[in-house]
């Protein structure tokens, strides 16, 4: 019996190869999408779960409340972790992890390592990063110890054993010191929010270069993690923190009017759920979005499946009748048809494995992560795939099986039977659902791409073209390099700065005199610059003046602010702030000028109040405007100068405009993935439409024949056949448009500067959906309408 079913299933598939192909491919594409998204979501959810103690590890974060704002920091002050460890017995260990940039060299290479951290000695005891060589508890004990990853070790030492070798390292705190490699670790897993290529011992700072770091209550540099006893209630522990802070810094908090509170975030939630960021962070929303898309695409694929199978029931009706007359029971027939749909679904899952193998590298590239190197790595994944296919086969097969097996033989076998009316409403409903999803995705894609385009082309308020940013260290040699470059052919302008737009910038705790004459406390974004910066970047002065060497006090007692600062302090015009007193990071003076607001961060964020002061001791970047001609030549000339002046420093540079656009990489990836899935959704929907139209024309063969005999033209017939389906797409559009509008409006709210949703975005989506559907439909409609009516009528 079973053999008989399988046999008939395969023969049926083969006899209707075209439709089997549509059915299997549609489902396979759906499964592939769903599976890839599942991999992605699984990967995102797996962050930081590989540490065996991950349930007892918490990240310590801090809020600082000042009279004007609340800063939600991703890290507490430097002194917090060691003091917590000392005062709370339930804390087993505390680790600080500080992101640092290092200039590293040995006799082979010199490189700028941006992906480095400094960590306390119990780092490897708390976290389960794998060590190849070295002892977990002792490798980060001594000052000037360094642990490198295998990939990094290759760069510096080739195939030699790195243990015991030395590296020369410098940055703004470490002054060209020799570090001993004490450990070799495996490259850190991608699904870790702590991710570094090299780790230096925190004792390098605490016992080496900045000896009193353990008591720095005012510096918020390293992230902090604590490991607690497994029976510790984090809420209870948190409740004891105010007392702890009061004891240690109560006095100074009141003095600064800056009140600190500490909180604990479970390690497993840091990546996805913490709004504070601080390190690599994921986005729970995009996980929701993609999960929903995955479900939608699977749904579209299932709908296809149901539609095609029920539409084909005409053909199977006779078989049902015969089998029933011969002795089959309803349940037996239903089982047979469900079995067939399971076979199709399993075939689809095999095809989808091929797709996944082919697509995985591209998918990894688009999503920017190595989500999975191969589908065969994890047998559970294959299991999930087959199980999903099986479930879809069963679920999607149930309705058609129910319809088919309930045919009455006496009707079917007379030959007068037609399924024309049966399930038509359902099929139409399903087609509408499919196209609603597909059109909504297209509208979404159009809006996302427009927003991306907008962000890239928006006037930012400063020159970003032809600006080269050299990553130097603050030193006399740096000034010499600038001087050398100023005289170089092809270099138009240079300046020394602490930050450039789009890159990290400091925030400084400042006191500023406001409109009412009070000293207002505020945490303000700060650029430390030189005299040339404002003119080089083309910032507009709207009041007062720019920095000038003509005023001796400008280097120490002058500040330029942006319009947002004026607003923050309550002044009604930029003129009024001129002369206002400021105090920031040990400097006192007056505001001398106001620049027009410019986007120093991505367009996702509102422009914030910004202060600029002259501070040669803080400017570690050299911004160089070069002529658009002979860029290559100029670049190599700059490098030559660099090698002469800074022979020990790695030559590192980037173009400002490219770096600024890199901020949109996440959105861009999101957009690309979205586009892929929208295209697939349309593709699967059209496959389904193609199949439906084919059957509908088959069913109406006789009608078409009669119409043609009575004089209908080919055009008339094509119109007749297409109208019905195009109407469905139209209805889908009407449902999809407001839906997409609502969702995308919500999405756009994430961007401080955003496009307005325009009617033409919907028009394009609607028209393209109709066109695609029209092409799909007319393919069969034309074929059916040119057939000689004699042929179609004779068969009756």
């Amino acid at each position: 019996m079973f053999k008989n079913y399988v046999k008939i299933a395969f023969r049926n598939l083969w006899r209707h190869r075209g439709f089997s192909l549509i059915n299997i491919c549609g489902l396979a594409i759906g499964l592939t999408c769903g599976f890839l998204i599942l991999l992605y979501v699984g990967f995102e959810l797996s962050y930081d779960r590989f540490h065996s103690k991950s349930n007892s590890i918490y990240r310590v974060v801090a809020d600082i409340k000042t009279p004007t704002d609340l800063m939600e920091m991703s890290r507490p002050s430097c002194a917090v972790p060691p003091h917590l460890l000392k005062e709370f017995p339930e804390i087993i260990s505390a680790v600080r992890v500080m992101n640092i940039t290092l200039d590293v060299r040995n006799d082979r290479v010199k490189l700028k390592e941006k992906n480095a951290i400094a960590a306390d000695s119990s780092f490897f005891n708390m976290f389960d990063f794998k060590l190849v060589q070295g002892d977990r508890s002792s490798i980060l004990k001594e000052p000037f110890s360094i642990v490198v990853s295998q990939t990094t070790a290759k760069k510096y030492f080739g195939n030699e054993n790195p243990i015991g070798k030395t590296l020369k390292i410098k940055n703004e705190d470490i002054d060209d010191r020799s570090f001993t490699v004490t450990g070799l670790m495996q490259d850190m897993p991608k699904n870790s929010h702590i991710h570094a290529d090299m780790i230096i011992s925190m004792t390098t700072y605490t016992q080496g270069v900045l000896t009193d770091l353990d008591d720095y209550w005012g510096t918020y540099d390293p992230s902090a993690y604590i490991l607690v006893h497994s029976n510790t209630d984090p809420k209870y522990l948190e409740s004891k923190f105010p007392e702890f802070l009061e004891k240690n810094i109560g006095e100074s908090m009141r003095e600064d009017k800056a009140y600190v509170s500490l909180f604990l975030e479970p390690l497993k939630e840091v990546y996805l759920h913490s709004p504070r960021g601080g390190t690599i962070s994921g986005d729970m929303n995009s996980i929701y979005v993609f999960s929903i898309i995955a479900i939608f695409i699977l749904l579209i694929a299932c709908i296809n499946f149901i539609n095609l199978t029920t539409a084909r029931s005409v053909e199977r009706a006779k078989e049902v009748g015969v089998r029933k007359v011969i002795g089959a029971q309803k349940q037996q027939l239903a089982l047979q048809f469900i079995g067939e749909s399971i076979i199709i679904a399993l075939l689809a899952s095999i095809v989808s494995i091929v797709f996944i193998v082919l697509l995985l590298p591209t998918f990894n590239a688009i999503s920017g992560k190595i989500i999975s190197s191969s589908i065969f790595v994890n047998p559970a994944h294959l299991g999930i795939l087959f199980f999903t296919a099986f479930a879809i086969g069963t679920l999607a097969g149930t309705y058609p099986a129910f319809v088919l097996s309930s045919f009455k033989p006496v009707h079917v076998l007379k030959g007068s039977f037609s399924t024309g009316k049966r399930g038509v409403v359902l099929r139409k409903g399903l087609v509408i659902t499919q196209f609603t999803i597909a059109i909504a995705l297209i509208i979404g894609t159009i809006i996302i791409y427009n927003q991306m385009h907008f962000m890239r082309n928006q006037e930012l308020g400063f020159n970003k073209d032809q600006i080269l940013v050299l990553e130097t260290n603050i030193s006399p040699a740096q000034k010499e390099l600038k001087y050398n470059l100023d005289n170089l052919k092809g270099v138009l302008s240079t300046s020394l700065v602490s930050s450039v737009p789009g890159a990290y910038n400091n925030t400084a705790y400042s006191l500023m005199k406001n409109k009412d004459g009070e000293e207002q406390v505020a945490n303000l974004d700060a650029f430390f610059i030189d005299y040339n910066f404002i003119s080089q970047f083309g910032l507009d002065i709207v009041a007062g003046r720019s920095f000038s060497r003509d005023f001796a006090t400008d280097s120490t007692e002058a500040m330029v602010v942006n319009e947002k600062t004026v607003e923050l302090l309550g002044y009604s015009s930029p003129q009024e702030i001129l002369g206002a007193h400021f105090s920031q990071w040990g400097k006192n003076g007056e505001v001398i000028g106001v620049v027009k607001d410019f986007h120093f961060r991505s367009l996702q964020q509102n422009i914030r109040p910004l202060t600029m002061t002259i501070a040669p001791d803080r400017t570690d970047l050299l911004a160089v405007t070069i002529s658009a001609k002979n860029i290559e030549e100029t670049l190599s000339a700059i490098q030559q100068k660099w090698e002469v002046v800074l022979p020990d420093d790695p030559f590192n540079f980037y173009f400002l405009d490219e770096a600024f656009d890199l901020q949109y990489r996440t959105q861009e990836r999101f957009g690309n993935l979205f586009l892929c899935f929208a295209v697939l959704a349309i593709l699967i929907s059209c496959l389904g439409l193609l199949g439906l139209v084919a059957y509908s024309t088959l069913q109406r063969k006789r009608e078409i024949g009669i119409r043609k005999v009575l004089g209908a033209s080919v055009t008339k017939v094509v119109t007749l056949l297409s109208k019905e389906f195009i109407t469905l797409v139209g209805i889908a559009f009407i449902i999809a448009a407001p839906l997409a509008w609502f969702i995308m409006k919500y999405w756009l709210e994430d961007f401080a500067y955003r496009i307005e949703i325009q009617w033409w975005m919907f028009a394009i989506a609607g028209i393209s959906a109709v066109l695609i559907a029209l092409v799909t439909v007319s393919f069969h409609a034309i074929k059916a309408s040119v057939v000689n009516p004699v042929k179609s009528l004779r068969t009756e």
Binding site: K7, V322, G327
Partner: protein, 220 residues
Amino acid sequence: MLVQLKNISKWVNSGGQKTFLLKDVDLWVHEGDFISIMGPSGSGKSTLLNIIGMLDNFNEGEYTFLEESVHSLKEKHRANLYKQYIGFVFQAYHLIDELTVKENLEMPLLYKKHSSSERKSLVADMLDRFNIVGKKDLFPSQLSGGQQQLVGIARALIASPKLILADEPTGNLNSKQGDEIMEIFTELNKDGVTIIQVTHSEKNAGYGSRIINLLDGKIE
């Protein structure tokens, strides 16, 4: 008595009016009968045959099949009854296109849960009996109409029914093929199988032992 119909009526409501398909039909069929039902198009021949075959319901009257009152049976029991005792032969053969001759013959046995060896021997017997051993691996579309109908009859017979119902079995065949099929029916009848056929042809009706004429749903 194999089949006993008493005052069977069947009607449809069209436009608020009853249109009778069958009206007060009385019919007795004894085991071993070979009955031909004749009548013009629309006279209710096929409806009558379907009612006898329990594929269709009737509105009024009594139907007794092998001492069982069909009209009072539940759908499921009725289905079991016809599956056990009745074989159907159709004008359009109604073989399953995706199965070979052998597999088509085997199918009724699959639903009756015969063992594999039993099925094989029964199918082999049938192939032998109808001289189609050479065609056992062909698909229906590779056979002539006459051959297909032969398979259709073989399939109806394979589960050894008491009654064969044939709805214009020669309707799609030429006269030579038709004659052959009628010869086969005659032989089956001699072997004790009861046959009821619907036919348009006087000549074919003549093969039967009794002719029933229907006109507008009534027996003449």
